[in-house]
Symmetry: C2
Subunit: 446 residues, 2 copies
């Protein structure tokens, strides 16, 4: 296979992982990253500190031999723990016995990926480089060293835009004829808060779980960290009542939390500081097409398909991009015309599907997980799925614990919804849900 | 009222008209235009040579006293003339007796508006100026003289982006938090062709009409010019069969026209030259929100809402923006916070509605105007509307011959469609359509 000179814009999770896959195929890669080296400087901005890794992400890490090392720094979350206003708890397992999604530190994972990339001997990461402009025909990008102001004109055989939701590479593609593009900000934003470790670094609430305080139009969630703390995220409307706009002082925020999240507030000694210092961050959905240009330039990860975080699939989907691209490199070798064509054709409908699924899951998390009917419905699904695992894999499991294309999972989920609508109409369903009649009815509708 | 220093980016139709309205209120305006002065240089690029002016556009021109002058250079088009493949014609009036849409030259209209703007003594148009960057907080824009390379840093009290579908002002807004944006290219593109004047400058086909050759998935249209020629536009898919991609030589194009547009081809002696020299132009729909920034910057016309041309409303909608802005200036004086807020709130749903209506009308024009059922349906609507003008104004008339907000017209049109679906199901509707039964049925459904 011909060794290509490759430029990647962005050394985030997807850019770093991509470079390893390309290095494995013998290509030489330079990654230009806007930030300083996060391994040398602590630059967490109170945003998106941890992530939920699931099967698609693990598979991509396996492909570069990193799975074992990351397992050590990941905390399994086996179930959702829902916190009612009165402090009472309810539970919903994510999958079958032993199945979990994993809380990992974004910074830690990124650092490991950068280390491994450099260890290949074929990847050079250059930091503090802002992308100014891209020539799509020449696969040439201009980067500016943000300290010295020096400009780097970098030409390569291939250029990847792994530069996130606000991608500069995509910015250049946006100006080309027939490039479809949309950026849509949802009405909710988020702010991160902290539940610190208890004595001896113990977790103060159930460690191996994802906690949700569902409150209808908004919610608080918490993911465990290795140091015994939890990173909590409040998803809350920008405007309206209540909203970040209406709750505009720390005092009002504390008062609000004492009413709707009293058990969480009790565990947040630094609430005031967190509220004041941590930013309100918007949430954007990005869609575009095509993802490639001139058989030389391609977008990957959030650059082509940023989604909302409610299915925990943003990173997993970007990592799956790498898995798919790797499969295509294996299949088509040097034929980048075909690799790029197949890549965007295969991934686009899946990216669209997970974007839709993530919005649906927001409604499920913030509202339905507090709804008894919904939980009952899920219980019936789980019961049937356990009896007929070959006939019914719940949507959440398809997305999280399988490699079924997202678009197929979404279509199957819609079909399952229709069937469950019928089942819930059955008389005496509340008492007879584990009956042969219900089982046969589902089988007949499948 | 306080006199403001205003910058407008773009001296096209909307930018020029806007400057006159602002000058009438005592403001001082500088317009920066990318092109050379079209009044001194002939720079038609074979694109969008004429336009259809209708009531909304006329009203905006009336507001600056230009209506009379433009009437002289406008050709009324009272009806659609549909050309079948066999050359037979059918007809559909646009409105009531005497109602018409008007074919005007884009360049001629633009020149008149520029002249009038300069005549106010308050508007200065500077040409050959490319907008490089915009500071939304300071209402400052950077323009570069494209000949000398000299840069102009232009600060003002207010900055309007009237710089079209590829607006640089909007480009700056796109980078701000919570700016929703989409650009969607439809699958059809267009190419312009010409039917030259006959002997003595006579029009070779009916002059006071808009001609359509509806062919299902594509169409040819023709609008009359003052010199006796017609500008024809082929709306045709980029890809597929047939398409601009599949018909990739002039010979194939000629052969294709001889089969599907034989009567038109017979009137096009310069077909080969036109086909080879005129570009294939894409069609894009732009949506965004907000339209204003920092109470100092606003988008207007195509910059905030570019639509497809099939309802002939692109310019009319941009002109209506000017009418509405003028009404708000009269109502709120110096309160630009309120003016901008009301402007985007009032216009956004109407811009969205006309974008949808324009796509609907494409289907109507290219397909349904060749459909007997559709024409029959329109005939029943016209008959009922003539009997009950206060109860039924056809959708086309609401959009074209009224000032009803586009969003209301669309909603009413949807309601009318539902009623007509019921009417078409009546037994013997083909023979009894002018009956009391039909009249009463419509009245009961209204």
């Amino acid at each position: 296979m011909e060794s290509k000179q490759v430029t990647i814009s962005g050394a985030g999770l997807v850019g770093s992982l991509l470079s390893i896959y390309l290095a494995q195929k013998g290509h030489r890669i330079r990654i230009f990253e806007r930030r300083l080296d996060p391994r040398k400087t602590l630059i967490d901005g109170g945003r998106s500190i941890n992530l939920a890794l699931s099967d698609r992400g693990w598979k991509a890490l396996e492909g570069v031999g990193l799975e074992g090392e990351i397992r050590k720094m990941a905390i399994p979350m086996y179930r959702r723990v829902m916190h009612a206003v009165d402090g009472s708890l309810s539970f919903q397992p994510y999958g079958k016995e032993g199945q979990a999604i994993y809380s990992v530190s974004r910074a830690g994972l990124n650092a490991k990926l950068m280390d491994l990339a450099e260890k290949t001997g074929k990847v050079n990461i250059i930091f503090d480089q802002r992308c100014l402009d891209v020539d799509l025909h020449a696969a040439e990008a201009v980067f500016e060293n943000q300290s010295s102001g020096e400009r780097n004109y970098v030409k390569a055989d291939l250029l990847f835009g792994a530069d996130g939701a606000f991608s500069m590479v995509r910015g250049a593609m946006q100006k080309t004829d027939r490039f479809n593009y949309s950026q849509h900000y949802i009405e909710h934003a988020y702010k991160e808060l902290t539940i610190p470790p208890g004595e001896d670094g113990k977790h103060l609430i159930e460690k191996e779980a994802l906690h949700i305080w569902p409150r209808g139009n908004y919610m608080l969630i918490a993911l465990p960290n290795l140091d015994g703390s939890f990173t909590c995220t409040l998803f809350f409307p920008h405007e309206g009542k209540p909203s970040f706009e209406s709750i505009d002082t720390t005092e009002k925020a504390r008062d609000f939390f004492s009413k709707v999240f009293p058990d969480a507030l009790a565990l947040m000694p630094d609430f005031d500081v967190d509220w004041e210092q941590n930013p309100i961050s918007s949430l954007v959905i990005i869609r575009c097409f095509p993802w490639t240009s001139n058989n030389k330039v391609a977008l990957i990860g959030d650059a082509s398909h940023a989604i909302v975080p409610f299915y925990g699939q943003g990173m997993n989907c970007g990592f799956e991009d790498c898995t798919v691209l790797n499969q295509l490199m294996e299949k088509y070798g040097d034929d980048w015309y075909t690799i790029f064509g197949e890549f965007e054709k295969e991934r686009k409908p899946n990216a669209d599907a997970i974007a839709d699924l993530a919005m649906r899951n927001f409604i499920e998390m913030r509202d339905l997980t507090g709804d008894e009917d919904f939980l009952f419905r899920k219980k019936i699904e789980g019961w049937f799925s356990a009896k007929h695992p070959d006939k019914w894999l719940p949507l959440y499991s398809m997305v999280t614990f399988s490699h079924i294309p997202y678009s197929e999972a979404l279509a199957e989920g819609v079909r399952q919804d229709r069937i469950m609508d019928e089942i819930m109409k059955m008389p005496d369903i509340n008492t007879n849900w584990q009956s042969v009649a219900v089982e046969e009815k589902i089988l007949s509708l499948l």
